[in-house]
């Protein structure tokens, strides 16, 4: 393993800052560097993912998508962002002004907290808690509070129904996400992301965990798509029934926050899936094929992570543009009568396999 370790880079930055600054100043400057890096990543992700979504959706429906702004419509999302920034931030007459303005920030906050725990490459990892998965599931479900506040405070029946649906949906599907991740935690024996990745050096868990790991991966993709509130599970928005759901009354920059958070949440779910099931930034290795493994090691770990995430995001977009939207009772039935029982049996089978040492 001779993959470039980003720890060298971060350590050298730390050392060069420590030369003539006090430790407090160094910490503050490092905080600012990391915060601005994440803000840039956040905006870039939003711009790229919105463009990718529109293009891929178009190709799935035999259309071309945005073509006018720039070559192949590349500048389309940038133009949309400028438009949204320039728009007037309207507030409905009887809205609860404080909560109405607070809601987008809660959603953005939860997205940022979750993004912080993403292992992007070897050594490029802002928050490596020993309870990483627990932390990530906790903060990513935190966003539903923002959705509920948005629906409640905007004084609109559509917003309220959308928010209530979203609450029911996220509370239900959070269970499946957690349990399917636990299946791999049993295999890896750790909740820490860096250790989960390190345990996949000889092979990704989706291949090494036999069929239970694949079932867990499928359930994770379904439940994760539901948790981001998109794809066939976009009941909180449900354009045809609720105009736009919980963000009906929002405009301008606050609407852009909701929009961005939805896309970055998709990135986070895909990131967790890639880290836990597909080996994070670990290159693809096959058994003892030394030559093949060496070639795979040449591809930087950053590319491996983003490639896997891009694949999973493409899969989620494929779901969204193929399947029809579920009704609310169908949605809850899918979770409580299908995904949850399968998941519980699956976790038992996996525990048995690990106990007997049958996995690779």
């Amino acid at each position: 393993m001779n993959i470039y370790d980003f720890k060298n880079l971060t350590d050298s930055i730390h050392a060069s800052l420590s030369v003539n600054l006090s430790p407090t100043a160094v910490t503050i400057i490092e905080f600012i560097i990391i915060a601005s890096a994440f803000m840039i990543l956040f905006t870039l992700l939003g711009l790229v993912l919105v463009y990718a979504e529109r293009k891929i959706a178009a190709f799935f429906q035999l259309r071309l998508g945005p073509m006018r702004v720039g070559k192949w419509g590349i500048a389309q999302t940038a133009a949309d962002a400028i438009k949204l920034i320039l728009k007037e931030p309207l507030v409905t007459k009887n809205a609860d002004k404080f909560l109405f303005n607070l809601a987008p920030f809660i959603i953005i906050l939860s997205t940022f907290l979750a993004l912080g725990a993403m292992p992007f490459a070897k050594g490029l990892h802002a928050l490596d808690f020993d309870i990483g998965i627990l932390y990530l599931t906790a903060v990513s479900s935190f966003g539903v509070i923002g959705i509920l506040i948005a629906g409640w405070s905007s004084d609109n029946k559509y917003s309220l129904i959308g928010a209530m649906r979203s609450g029911a949906q996220v509370v239900s599907y959070e269970l499946s996400v957690g349990l399917s991740l636990l299946t791999v935690v049993i295999l890896a024996g750790s909740l820490q992301f860096s250790e989960i990745i390190a345990s996949q050096e000889t092979g990704w868990w989706i291949f090494r965990g036999h069929i239970p790991a694949m079932i867990a991966f499928i359930i994770f993709m379904i439940a994760g798509t539901a948790e981001t509130g998109r794809g066939p599970f976009d009941l909180p928005e449900a354009e045809s029934e609720l105009t736009a759901g919980f963000h009906t009354e929002y405009s301008g920059l606050k609407f852009a926050f909701f929009f961005l958070a939805e896309f970055v949440n998709m990135f986070i779910i895909a990131g967790i899936g890639a880290t836990v099931f597909l080996g994070g930034w670990m290159p693809f290795h096959i058994g003892n094929w030394e030559g093949f493994n060496k070639i795979m090691d040449f591809i930087p770990s950053l590319f491996w992570f983003f490639g896997k995430v891009a694949f999973l995001i493409f899969l989620m977009m494929w779901f969204k543009w193929t399947f029809p939207r579920l009704r609310i009772d169908q949605l809850l039935r899918l979770e409580w009568k299908y995904l949850l029982p399968i998941n519980l049996v699956n976790i038992l089978v996996m525990a048995f396999i690990v106990l007997m040492g049958w996995h690779f």
Partner: protein, 159 residues
Amino acid sequence: MKAIVKYIISIISALRTLIKGMAITGHYISHPKEIITQQYPENRETLKMFDMFRGEVVLTHNEDNEHMCTGCSACEVVCPNGTIEIISKRIEMPDGKKKKVIDKFVYHLSMCTFCNLCILSCPTDAIKMSQDFEHAVFDRSQLTKVLNKPGSKLMEGVR
């Protein structure tokens, strides 16, 4: 036991139909040549509308500036909006007989709903729908058109 079998079968059949759907969209995304979007103002020179498209009513003329409209005003009668007005006149034939021919075939494009009834009712197939759809003009009066070309006459043998 029966219920469990039914449960498992329902899961398998659900997955099968989902994969079927994904195969269809997967076919679409992997065949970019099938994209149906037209880049209209750019491909204006090469754009070809499909045959059934109803742009506007035209009276077909041949090279000798002859049309096939006998002035029977079937289209005028059948038109639900009064889009077509046929102004006819009587002319004296060389053999002394008097014959009714059209003087002006007036077509009000502004009132037309492109219902195709006039084309269906025409006994001599003199009129048809063209594929031209660029109807924007600066004045409404320009939408009132006289379809028969100046100096045109009825084609021989059409009655």
